[in-house]
Symmetry: C2
Subunit: 361 residues, 2 copies
Amino acid sequence: MRYYKASHLHRFTSELFRKMGCPDEDAETIAKIFVAAEMRDIPSHGMVRIKDYYNLWKGGRINVRPEIRVVHESPSTAVIDADMAVGMVAASAAMLKAIGKADKSGTGWVAVRNSNHFGIAGYYAMMALGYDMVGLAFTNANPLVAPTFSVTPMLGTNPVAVAVPADRQPPLVADFATTPIARGKLAVAEKRGERVPFGYVQDSSGKPSDDPSVLKRGGAMLTLGGDRIHGSHKGYCLSAIVDIFSSLFSGAGFGPFVPPSVAYLPLREDKRGEGTGHLFGAMRIDAFRPAGEFKNEMDLWIETFRAAEPSEGCEKVLIPGDPEREAEERSLKEGVSLIPAVEDDLRAVAKELGVSLDSPD
Amino acid sequence: MRYYKASHLHRFTSELFRKMGCPDEDAETIAKIFVAAEMRDIPSHGMVRIKDYYNLWKGGRINVRPEIRVVHESPSTAVIDADMAVGMVAASAAMLKAIGKADKSGTGWVAVRNSNHFGIAGYYAMMALGYDMVGLAFTNANPLVAPTFSVTPMLGTNPVAVAVPADRQPPLVADFATTPIARGKLAVAEKRGERVPFGYVQDSSGKPSDDPSVLKRGGAMLTLGGDRIHGSHKGYCLSAIVDIFSSLFSGAGFGPFVPPSVAYLPLREDKRGEGTGHLFGAMRIDAFRPAGEFKNEMDLWIETFRAAEPSEGCEKVLIPGDPEREAEERSLKEGVSLIPAVEDDLRAVAKELGVSLDSPD
């Protein structure tokens, strides 16, 4: 496993997307968000995906010269048609629009259609922090997850991200899929020949399974909660809300109609809605109370929860966002590691585009 | 078990609250929401709670003649001080305010402090439906739930409710606690001398427990997901967000500082923030796209999910809100049943206030 400086991966990634035809500014945005995923130790949304983006672009399913348009708005809302842009480009523009609305009207809510996979949801929620706003991001994703009582994959891993600013303390950043695990963990277990805990997946008849490869044989992932007795119907509610928020406000594809974020899966013929959808929110704190007061209270919230007594054998209680922030600090010092399989994929893409992963830093 | 007509329980309940000193209109609101909980088969938030409200009122912890004030606002936001009102009264006023803001600015977000237990969250979310808006409701609640890796109860069962209008189809109404189960289910299991599944509670050292009475001996409820391996940290994120949304925008008490919703638990001496907090949201659909278009697409969403193939042994796939709506229809025909223990409590309260539960209908 080799370590790379973040700045090196940033230059490499932005160069790849420039070579695909992205304007400089968009290539910078995309690179920043890919590298942020790696630095925050969410590699499932990092460089491993670049090959998928590249193949979607080659297949004409990503538009590197999009005309991103606001198609409707009110004082606190807007709808954006992303013209099949790379998800990061559409999402960054939409979140900035939400922040602008919040600046004038207290809150801003921007729905996006015709977009693509956007990487880590937390990135967009965090864009609000510098403006003393709470940030929210939702996206739907291609269907892998069965609703409670069903065998049919109808929902994506549909994440929720919320970022809340504090003062002395680092911000609280919650960024989580509405499933017990990310799909990537199944792939890892499968490669290692391991079983997974019950509660992650079910087989094609809806029975609990511990086989990480069961999705290939008609199985499905489960919603947060796992089974009915442990509240999977609540995870289903949450995932349904994220899907509806992400698609219906903008007219994007919902549930089973969300387009695959990999090129080897074909688009459905019975298309409904326009592409992948997102929703972004920005809530200006001083539209509720003075930001200083709120942020002091948020410090106290964080300090109170951090001081909660740990369970036997646990080191400490974490605040949402702690692990990712600690990973980011570590990555700044140690660099970002890529596994050989990802390096190989990146080299293959880089070769086709005339870029080198290994050029001197 | 005796069955009562909903109208009978409504008259009885409103009379009780009038006798406590509530203005007619408030007593009507409170009764409507208590009876709605019974009709929707959420008895944990229904008539069983009237005794608690009565005791809080006797203890001076509920104000039946509140002066509910808007203390801050922007085009899309407001903060309300509920002056220790009955939660239903504060929450109904706040949700109406959110709807008014959404009418003008596209969305409305109203935070409430100094409130009390408000019954079923779904009721307020559903208030938005008639205005072609999506409704949201959040509240915090007194601490029973431990964050992942901790033994300390820091969070309430902190529910989320979202209501989404459709056209031909009934609306989607998700209303769920951010724990695998409601606390009431532990009490029922304890009375029956039964164990509960692992994943609901932990003991005082943080070990998994199947003992429904473990909360009395330093145990705690778990967040949705149950344990770390099944995603309890995501349930913790969700519960934390609900707590922060409910308290920090308005300055209500957060986490461990949320006042108990029963009079037999004392108020903390190290008070922080003002009472129980809520947040309400209303999102006007045509601030995003024509309401008719959205509602047609929502019909299709519901029909698509309802048509998903059921798992072996399951009858059908449910849409969030189906069970409660079916219960409501059943209650209209059959009436609402109260268990003897609840009837006894109600008779005791009624006697003190000079009202009769059994007066002819």
